[in-house]
Amino acid sequence: MSEKPHLSVLDRPNSYIGRSVPRPNARRLLAGRGQYPSNVSLPRMVHVAFARSPFAHARIVGVDTEAARQAPGVVGVFVGEDIAKICQPWVGTLEHFAGMKSAPQYPLAHNVVRWQGEPVVAVVAQTRALAEDALELLLIDYEELPAVTDPETALDPDTPLIHPELGDNLVFGSKVEAGDIERAFAEADLVVEDEFHFGRHTGVTLEPRVVVADYDPSEERLTAYHGTQTPYQMQDVYARHLGLAEENVRVVVKDIGGAFGIKLHVHGEEMTTCALSMLLKRPVKWSADRLESFVSDIHARDHRVRARLALTKDGRILGYDVDDLTGVGAYSVYPRTSAVEGNQVIKLVGAPYTQQHYRAVLKVVLQNKNVMSQYRAVGHPIAFTVTEALVDKAAAELGLDPMELRARNYVPDDAYPYKSASGFTYEGLSLQRSLEKLKEMIGYPELREEQRGLRDKGVYRGIGIATFVEITAPGPAFYGVGGARISSQDGCSMKLEPSGKVQLAISVNELGQGTETIVAQIAATELGIAMEDIRVVTGDTGATPYGGAAWASRGAAIGGEVTVRAARALRDSILEVAGASLQTSPSELDLRDSLVVSREDGEELISLAEVGRIAYFRSDTLPPGFQPQLSVVRHYSPQGLPFAFTNGVHASYVEVDVDTGLVRLLNHWVVEDCGRVLNPKLVDEQARGGVAQGIGMALFEECLYSADGQLTNGSLADYLVPLSSELPDIEVAHIETPSQYSEIGAKGAGEAGTAASPAAIMNAVNDAIAPLGGRVTAMPMTPERILRSLKRI
């Protein structure tokens, strides 16, 4: 027996782990060979276009479809009742959110429309253009009803009810309390408070939502080429709501043109398109245009938060008191609900700090607006803007440097595991080290010096710091316990090809974040082969093990760990075959450079190709009864704590033109700790892209509604997405505190950029304009809002 210990995947020779390997699958995209669902075209395929409600709230009095049916190329016209006959409505609630309620939502509006843009009638025609022509011939009579648009009055007794059967416009209410908040505030030396407003914005995936539904009645089989980040969830939803056998539903998504949380919710258009394919028994395609995206892709944020912070005079944080009101549109979104964001806000305010007292109250209310639900960094940008804006305000009152006030109150790096005031347990964070690293990175004293010098010349620059603690890689406590059929585990299968190369199929799919690359890095390392010798398959429920797929920054933590386990199983199987063939114990063998070698002295014995040849074609040369098992599958659900908490800190350096109110972003820095870094370049890029979306939230993006519920800026010319010329370079650095609950030790990295960049920018803007008495607490921080705060308009 060899005395050498078995190596963990982290200690193996020729490791790919921690290396910035470029993404092999990016070459295809660079050549214009992407396989996006919007490219899918099938024989006999027809196209659907939707008539949408022009009103925020109205009763559908009558629909005359006759002229549309006679229009050229029209295959069929379908109203809500037609689709409801074969597609069950859904209700976006979770059982563990006590008292939560929402109304049944139908794929097409049922009697009443509840937001401008809600789909009402589906027209199917030979081309999208012909379907749109026919839409104009529909005669839909509406009786307009009063629109409920302001969350502040949504619960007033004289406000109309959006769903009368619910009794009020409240979707969910919750409260988190710890310690004695009243006493803490009564005894505090300093209390600072503000009211914050966060506008609605949306994901703006560059490829809009698309599905091509192909129902084959001869097999009762539905194949949906659907731009979704959660194909298994959609397999389940399509099966249950359309009355199909789950194994007969296949969801395929190879490439996807952006997701960011937008593409994991159930929207009526995709459900209708699948139902239409069943009714018409032929492929039906729906591809949103940009206006449809703006009025029907889920929106995000929309919070009003009143918050106050109590401190001692020496700058010790006693506690936060928070009141969050969020408007979520006309329904709670299915199946993840529209309460998760608010629920995270009320648990995350003050998360980096050792506060003993805490109170946070949440109200989630309905509105006659497009639905609102989870988008990248769910709740975090709200929670950390509130947290960190108040810390800066307190630092100013106390005459302390904002870095110093943070450092005094962080949960110390040696205090883990640590239970937060809101009840979360952090396995291990590095708040203190992260801040130190950030200070170094930005050259803090010099930057302050520069700021002071320029201020004397009438140039107003500001430095903003913002910390985050982030929920990643959730286990079943997130959705599963609430009754939602959303998997928190993932599966990975691998097979050795006769050539000695490997096919790997995994349920965590590729959104461009690099899943296929990191799993190949891990598998190649564990198997002792080159990454190029692994073909990775994702995004096909018919070809991969069942799993949760891509949401809540889970790819590296869960997908990475399941890959280690599957690769180890395949490795063991390979060594068993090699041992049987070489008449030696598998424990004497190892894998390296696509070879089976002696563990003891590294002697090269046989190649993996030879193992494949023997196993598949010459099993007669193996001992009687020995059956090679060169296909394996493993599943992994996160172990230990319910979430893998990560942390980090952002800094923003801005210049505010106090005459125009325009903000110029000069620099942005991020230090983040996502546990083991598997591919530093890919983690950097997640941070940078996340920061860009946070910048959008902070300065540019807002879905603007009129008082009667009309979206007034539903185009990319009117809704401001950050452009290259508006963004700064974004520098990223890492601290690594690996999770001890998994071998790979990785935590989530996809949302850290978005979690606190808005907070850093708000603090930077306010730092810049503080000498002039300005302070902005509403996002986006438009020139108008900045000039108003400066009393210049």
């Binding site: 214009g32 992407g34 959104l511 690099g514 892209g689 990319l716 950029g753």
Partner: protein, 163 residues
């Protein structure tokens, strides 16, 4: 709606062809649906996002803002053709090395815009690169790595790739 189709003769990626198209068909839809050149992407259909950027007689244009019939007699190049000619190879390599793409939906248009920038200004600084690609939205990267890739291409002795 008009059901009269017009004759269209043009050269796409070096291949000449004759078609009959509806006068309302956009150049982007023509390329994608008639010629199956799906590397040209459609993101907004109003000229804002740049995902449909192609070359028209050597200049970059928004294929969603042109009707196919306007391309009568023209030479149109798409990402497929420009890739196969090898003209963009250095830029594509730099994008790959720098991970200057995530979902890849903006990438064909971004590459064509970046090549156009380098044609007119072979050694732009970072601000000029940012200005040069500011007509092309990318929702994934935050642009930093795209700027890196373009900067690397123009400073790395690979100018022949863009001439």
């Amino acid at each position: 709606m008009s059901d009269i189709n017009y004759e269209l003769n043009l050269t796409v990626n070096g291949e000449r062809g004759s078609f009959r198209v509806s006068p309302r068909l956009s150049l982007a839809d023509f390329l994608r649906e008639e010629l199956h050149l799906t590397g040209t992407h459609v993101g907004c259909e109003q000229g804002a996002c740049g995902a449909c950027t192609v070359r028209y007689n050597g200049d970059q244009v928004r294929a969603c803002l042109m009707y196919a019939v306007q391309a009568e007699g023209a030479e149109v190049e798409t990402i497929e053709g420009i890739t196969e000619s090898g003209e963009l190879a250095a830029l594509q390599e730099a994008f790959h090395r720098n991970n200057a793409l995530q979902c890849g939906f903006c990438t064909p248009g971004m590459l064509i815009a970046a090549a156009d920038l380098l044609k007119h200004n072979p050694s732009p600084d970072r601000d000029q690169i940012r200005a040069g690609i500011s007509g092309n939205y990318c929702r994934c990267t935050g642009y930093h790595s795209i700027v890196d890739a373009v900067a690397e291409t123009c400073s790395g002795g690979t100018k022949e790739a863009t001439q």
